[in-house]
Symmetry: C2
DNA sequence: AACAGCCAAATGTTCGAAATTCCAGCGCCT
DNA sequence: AGGCGCTGGAATTTCGAACATTTGGCTGTT
């Protein structure tokens, strides 16, 4: 184990503050923290094994990322979820991602095409989590899914647009993972999603911007609908029976 | 004692951290801090009269806002400016603002129209700074200008889109104020800008989305060109004669 | 029983100092 | 001369404790 410059460097050059920022961010997006949950310093300090100073730094950044809310003298809380925000988020994400995809299709080179195919392959080979508890499987799939979607738009030469797309993608992922606690997808749905991934990759590499953005938009639209259905189901559950997943 | 709920509340509920965040943010956008300049804690602590803890908090947020850069164990620096970023920024800003304007035109009510007219009036009555040193005049004009542009898109019902527009507007303002140190505008240019403001307000209230977005895009395009010209002039100055404003 | 006011515990905020890391200058070796 | 490693100083990072604010409960009154 000694290999890598990169990893060791990261550890060195990195401070506790940014490390905790990354970990908290991951956990927020993965849904390990309940929306609205208070983020108490004592509790966080114990779970993450760091002092308060780095935590404040990390949480401050997350406030600007809009993943965490802050109220003076009352502490930090996990940003809430809402249907209105979900739709807003997704409309904007669709718009910006399609814009980025068009630019990417205009400018992409051979390496970009190769990366798309590679990412698609990794995604298709990634096993889907069969039960709720399989965090590792779920994390792995999410990472590959994210990477595939990023590969599509990565040739777009607007860093700011990519940044926004990434931020929106993270927020959407939080909705998805918060809501789809049970693998509630039918085989038919899964098949359709896989087909959309293949189709968007194909159209993208064929430089058919209209078709690619069309499929991507449909793909996002489908995802939103699934999330929205699950969200409403969960809201009903919460209203009738108290089923706190955590806390 | 106890009367004013609102005002007292604001002061109370606010922490040093968020207060410093606002002040730093204002100063960054206003160009009082040079791009690339190191932000040393001792120096900041002295100028702003606060300890290191609130400063770290504020700077962390500004990193996520992309107004400040951070390198582990090497501290914080003011985010640099570049022509490439300027064009990227403005292309995206134009796109998103026009999108928001369209939505706003679809949904705006009487109060929205009234606010646009009020903001336009305040902007037209605001004196322009005649010399470099007039910070107060400059701040006042910028605030009214900002408010006018915000009023146009404020009826858009996408909080996230508005947030992005605001962030991009702040970044662009930083370019403008960093670069236009001398009031280098010809009377002709000023007149054209005033005319654009009037025209976009008029078209917006007339619910002519095509015309309004057209004018807004031209307005932004014109601004970019002015900023770009000044930026290049300043770059030449810096290249030929060493004129470090600070540091 | 309901409610205002107050007290104490918990929590968040800020400071000062210790530990760690970077950087520039200097001497030394090739 | 040029490169390498060391070292002293400066800056950043982190912690622990002091300070301030909120919150929930208790008491006493109506």
């Amino acid at each position: 184990m000694s290999l890598p410059h990169a990893a060791a460097r990261e550890d060195d050059a990195s401070t506790l503050g940014v490390e905790i920022y990354s970990r908290l961010r991951r956990d927020l997006i993965a849904g390990h923290l309940q929306p609205g949950e208070r983020l108490r310093f004592r509790q966080l300090s114990a779970s993450y094994g760091v002092g308060i100073a780095p935590l404040r730094e990390a949480l401050s950044r997350l406030v600007s990322d809009q993943l965490v809310r802050f109220e003076g003298h009352r502490g930090y809380t996990v940003a809430p979820l809402s249907m209105a925000d979900l739709y807003d988020l997704c409309a904007l994400r669709t718009d910006l991602s399609c814009k980025a995809l068009r630019q990417s299709i205009e400018r992409g080179d051979d390496d970009w095409e190769a990366e798309i195919l590679a990412a698609l392959h990794r995604l298709e080979r990634s096993p889907l989590p069969q039960s709720v508890g399989e965090r590792k499987v779920s994390d792995e799939w999410e990472q590959r899914h994210e990477r595939f979607h990023f590969s599509l738009i990565s040739a777009c030469d607007s860093p700011r647009l990519l940044h926004f797309c990434g931020a929106l993608s993270d927020h959407f992922q939080r909705y998805r993972r918060a809501v789809i606690v049970v693998t509630s997808a039918s085989e038919e749905l899964l098949q359709r999603v896989r087909e959309q991934h293949r189709a968007v990759a194909e159209a993208t590499i064929a430089r058919d911007a209209d078709r690619a953005t069309q499929i991507l938009a449909e793909h996002f639209q489908g995802s939103v609908e699934v999330v929205a259905r699950n969200y409403e189901a969960i809201s009903r559950d919460l209203a009738s029976g108290p089923v706190p997943v955590r806390g």
